[in-house]
């Protein structure tokens, strides 16, 4: 891309064997990744999984210990940040406090000596619907407005690759949803390659064409959001993207179509194509919303897994759906989500129930069953406290 004109389209991003070691720990281990031009790619993972380091390496703010970074087929590993056709929307926005909004947006254009920087900046400001604040300072804007200015400041440069570092993290839920839609719309309009780093699985799934789930410096699984959700390959993915009920057991019989696992005396069938391992001890799972509750023992039928009886230990109503915790002897606690299609919960706490799900909804994991992690559930006191704090922070910022 020459100095004073825009790129016309997004560019491929390729990471070849990139790793990053800091004194004392490894942030990224041997990462190979290709993001095709024009796609919206999300790197999803918990904090500390190396996703932000990956993004900083692409931006040139961090040097990889090994490996090469290619943008549009050109090796930019040794290029300085200002020489790369990349712009970043920083988590903290990093809007220049001493410049007006319009000057912030025109900054990159002026550096590249692009004609009519103010006109183009005003256009970008119109895209994020903030024309009326052009002459204000960033400190005079709300969090959401600052976020949009940061987005405009990056997009106005029409970079081959736009990097988004959890830019929606500080926004409240409603605004975040709205910005997600806007971002996606903008991406469709300008046709750039977006690399979005986030720990919010819902955000990643609603926005991205392709999601890569990162854990401990490695990519665990990569694919379209539906695929990742419906066919998780590891326990980490199964639990980081939504919730899962996971069971361990021994494969007792298998056919071309499916394998049958003995889970503490229950017979659980999983399609062969949807499981990673086909013999020995395996871990299988099913999503909570795929399970049906029955007050009476259902009639066994082919293609349906039935477990029970169990006892309902908790019912929590959350508007659209109700979440039931069912305790089954030997299996432990199973979570079931049921849509609230009629009024109120279908069964009550203490009642006896049977659970069933279609065989094709089950999945088998790569993990050894005994290695099934003790999942950091979303509802332990620590994460509730953390969530509450985040909420308060956003409220404070909004006020």
């Amino acid at each position: 891309m020459s100095k004073n004109e825009f790129g016309t389209s997004g560019a491929d991003l390729e990471l070849r064997g990139v790793s990053k070691r800091f004194p004392g720990f490894t942030a990224i281990e041997e990462l190979d990744l290709t993001i095709p031009a024009g796609s919206f790619f999300a790197l999803l993972g918990p904090s500390g999984c190396g996703k932000t380091t990956t993004l900083r390496i692409v931006a040139g703010l961090e040097e990889p210990t090994t490996g090469r970074v290619l943008i549009g087929g050109k090796d930019v590993t040794d290029a300085k940040p200002f020489q790369r056709p990349v712009n970043t929307v920083f988590q903290s926005y990093a809007l220049f406090p001493h410049m007006t909004v319009i000057e912030n947006i025109a900054f990159g254009l002026r550096r590249r000596r692009i004609e009519d920087p103010l006109g183009k900046a005003r256009e970008a400001l119109r895209l994020v619907e903030l024309e009326n604040v052009a002459q204000r300072r960033p400190a005079q804007l709300s969090g959401g407005q600052q976020q949009r200015v940061a987005l405009a400041r990056a997009i106005v440069n029409r970079p081959a690759l736009l990097l988004l570092d959890e830019p929606l993290g500080a926004l409240d839920l409603k605004l975040r949803r709205q910005m997600q839609l806007e971002l996606k719309e903008i991406q469709a309009q300008v046709g750039l390659t977006f690399l979005h780093v986030t720990h919010d699985q819902e955000e990643a799934m609603t926005m991205a064409d392709t999601v890569a789930v990162m854990n401990k410096g490695r990519i665990e699984q990569m694919g379209a959001p539906e695929e990742l959700y419906e066919r998780p390959r590891t326990a980490f993915v199964a639990n980081f993207l939504g919730q899962s009920n996971l069971f361990g057991g021994k494969v007792v019989s298998s056919s071309d179509e499916s394998i049958v696992v003995d889970v503490h005396g229950y017979r659980v069938e999983v399609p062969r194509a949807r499981s990673q391992r086909h013999s020995g001890e395996v871990a299988v799972g099913v999503r909570p919303e795929k399970i049906e509750l029955h007050a009476n023992e259902p009639v066994p039928a082919s293609g349906i897994n039935i477990v029970g009886p169990g006892r309902v230990t908790d019912v929590s109503f959350s508007g659209v759906s109700t979440s039931y915790q069912v305790s089954l002897p030997g299996l432990g606690v199973v979570t079931v989500f049921a849509q609230n299609r009629s009024f109120g919960p279908v069964v009550h706490e203490g009642e006896q129930v049977w659970l069933s799900w279609h065989v094709e909804h089950g999945f088998g994991l790569e993990d050894e069953p005994e290695q099934l992690p003790k999942f950091a559930a979303d509802d332990d006191t620590q994460s509730i406290a953390a969530q509450r704090r985040r909420q308060l922070q956003t409220e404070l910022e909004g006020a």
Binding site: G60, L61, K80, A94, L95, F96, F107, R112
Partner: protein, 308 residues
Amino acid sequence: MAFGAFSSGAAPGVATVQEGPRRKSRVALFLLLPGIAYLALFFLVPLISLLLTSFMAPREFGDIGQFDYAFRWENYVKVVETYLPHILRSFGYAAIATVLALIIGYPLAYFIGVNLRRFPLVQALALVLVIAPFFISFLLRTLAWKQIFADEGPVVGALNALSLMGPGDHITGTPAAVVFGLTYMFIPFMTLPIYTSLERLDLRYVEAGGDLYASPWTTFRTVTLPLSMPGVVSGTLLTFIPASGDYINASRDFLGSTETAMIGNVVETNFLILQNYPAAAALSIILMATILILVGAYVRKSGTEDLV
């Protein structure tokens, strides 16, 4: 007054609430009293006295140093006519010293405030080193420099041996020596305020500059420097104002000569030797007024008031 406006806006029914702020403002006034009294006594009174002195006329048939209150504004014309070179020289030397101190102080402050951030202990040590000269009286330090630059001293000797200086040349007594002395003296005053600005500089702005196609130099010019402007302004003021009134470095007893005399030296001579008090007072007033005008224009120009 802000407090008055606040209490008048309160609802008429709640008398006790109105009482609060008014009493607070009285307390605040009371607490300010010592400060106000101090300023009135030691700043305002001498200033008025100085102003009155500057218009005095010599007593008829009086001795040297005897003057009467009058309104002799010609005093001002006289001193400007006589001492214009000294006035210009003062501001010239001070300006050069300020620029040199900025050139030396800014990188130093940047290094300590940004590069040493990851090593808090080294940073603290570096700051102590910047302040270290203050542990020695600056008269002594200036005398030490005089020794070093003296005709028999090591510097002149070395330069003579290298034939870079002729036998009749000196370092002391030259404008360069005076400017050097001023620069040396005010480097800490320049460095510390700039350090305070840079120490708080959010490096993510610098990263953002790089991300938006600005080379390191451009990022410095457009992001780092403007964000550290408050420090630069206070540093230059802390250097320029005392430097233009300085009379130690330029004095013949230290690094200067009669050719390098600044306003401070002239005021000193008029007061202590010639006993021409009105001239000395008029010069002081001129110095003060000029600094006020220059500083006002400078602060306005650098636009620090709308920096965050």
